[in-house]
């Protein structure tokens, strides 16, 4: 049975209420694909039955499972590599020049999914900076408890390490663990993972020197985009750097950012006095 309009609308409202993510009409296929494994796990034959059963008797575990299934996204190492090149070529030298030798740099991978972005940043810094672990801390957050646990574990399947992780970095920063690959201890120590809903008031964190908030804003409506950018800015150092996804911008959303071109990438920096 295909997803009914009532079930789809209920899921849309739930996801919007819990995460502020907007599921446009026409995304029924996405709901079906993402929820089918959970429906089967619950012993039900299709997604409609599953949604109806949760709708009639909502439980926190089931609603969380639905929101998580619809808010986690595919990720790969060095995804859209230019913002990583910008980090080592421009941002890191600028920050090292501006900060004292004992000041720790703080980097935030917001909506970190299973941790590839946070560990990619960590690998680059380890390769570029002596004693990176004592100079830099990386905060990785995601709305999904499962993704946060995966990031903390730092274990990746063979298929996952095949997705854009350069082989020289694999052998330098990972160890084999059964059929999986595990992030080496010194790299894992750089990354702290926690749950965080970007659409709600943020926990006390930072102040961050660099924020990677990529391919996140595209899922939100304009008022939520504005609120997220305001909250992120509040957690950043005044001379910090924000990286968005290639298809995202602050232009027309929030005028308190200055867009700067860094190599083949764009970064956004807080405008003074705004």
């Amino acid at each position: 049975m295909t997803l009914t309009t009532t079930s789809f609308d209920w899921v849309r409202q739930l996801v919007h209420r819990e995460s502020a993510i907007v599921l446009q009409p026409g995304k029924e296929y996405l709901v079906e694909a993402r929820l089918l494994p959970i429906a089967r796990q619950a012993g039900l034959a299709d997604v409609s039955q599953f949604v109806e059963s949760v709708r009639s008797r909502p439980s926190p575990d089931d609603t969380r499972a639905i929101v998580e299934a619809l808010t986690t996204n595919e990720t790969s190492w060095f995804r859209d590599g230019d913002p990583f090149t910008a980090l080592t070529s421009t941002v890191l030298p600028a920050l090292l020049a501006a900060r004292g030798p004992n000041e720790r740099l703080q980097i935030w991978s917001a909506a970190c999914s299973s941790g590839q972005e946070a560990y990619t940043i960590g690998m680059l810094l380890e390769d570029a900076l002596p004693n990176a672990a004592s100079r830099v801390s990386i905060t990785a957050t995601d709305i999904s408890r499962e993704m946060v646990q995966r990031t903390r574990a730092g274990r990746f399947s063979q298929l996952e390490v095949n997705r854009g992780l350069p082989a020289p970095m694999l052998v330098r920063h990972f160890v084999r663990a059964g059929n999986e690959w595990e992030v080496a201890p010194q790299l894992r120590r750089m990354v702290t993972a926690s749950e965080c809903n970007l659409a709600a008031p943020l926990p006390r964190m930072g102040p961050f020197d660099v924020v990677y908030l990529r391919n996140v804003l595209i899922y939100f409506d304009l008022p939520t985009k504005q609120a997220i950018l305001r909250r992120v800015r509040d957690l950043m150092r005044p001379d910090g750097w924000l990286f968005l996804g290639a298809a995202e911008t602050t232009l027309g959303v929030d005028d308190s950012w200055e867009r700067v071109v860094v190599g083949r990438s764009s970064a956004y920096r807080p405008l003074k006095g705004k």
């Binding site: 790969s76 298929l159 390490v161 095949n162 997705r163 854009g164 082989a167 020289p168 990972f174 084999r176």
Partner: protein
């Protein structure tokens, strides 16, 4: 762009060649390292060689070493595509002169991601 696909499994050669052709590559195939060298000796020098490890006659590692000892083939990028998945084996292949390493089983996206890293994604295939 040109790619040479070396694998003793005809099915695997077809899969890898199919992915590369879908990205705009012109491909040739060889069943082991020696056959691969024979192709190169005809003067057909590819931008990329995708090479299995375990093959009869000449294995992938021997092929990599032979190519790396020939200055005329210096510009050729070599990517191992193999089920050998131990840390030490990847280190050996890189030390011998392979640039990248894809472990079987893999998806078409994995090949594409690696080519993007190597700057070997034909322009029309870049999204």
């Amino acid at each position: 762009m040109r790619a040479l696909v070396i694998d003793d499994s005809r099915a695997m050669r077809r899969i890898v060649s199919g992915i590369l052709e879908g990205l705009g590559y012109e491909t040739r195939q060889a069943g082991h390292g020696r056959e691969g060298l024979d192709v190169l000796e005809t003067g057909w020098v590819p931008d990329l060689a995708c090479v299995d490890w375990n093959m009869p006659v000449m294995d992938g590692l021997q092929f990599v070493s032979a190519v790396r000892s020939n200055p005329a083939l210096r510009s050729m990028t070599i990517m191992m595509v193999t089920s050998e998945s131990e840390h030490t084996q990847i280190v050996r292949a890189l030390a011998a002169g392979a640039h990248e390493y894809v472990i079987k089983p893999f998806t078409a996206d994995a090949i594409r991601d690696k080519l993007a890293l190597l700057g070997l994604l034909p322009q029309e295939a870049v999204l």
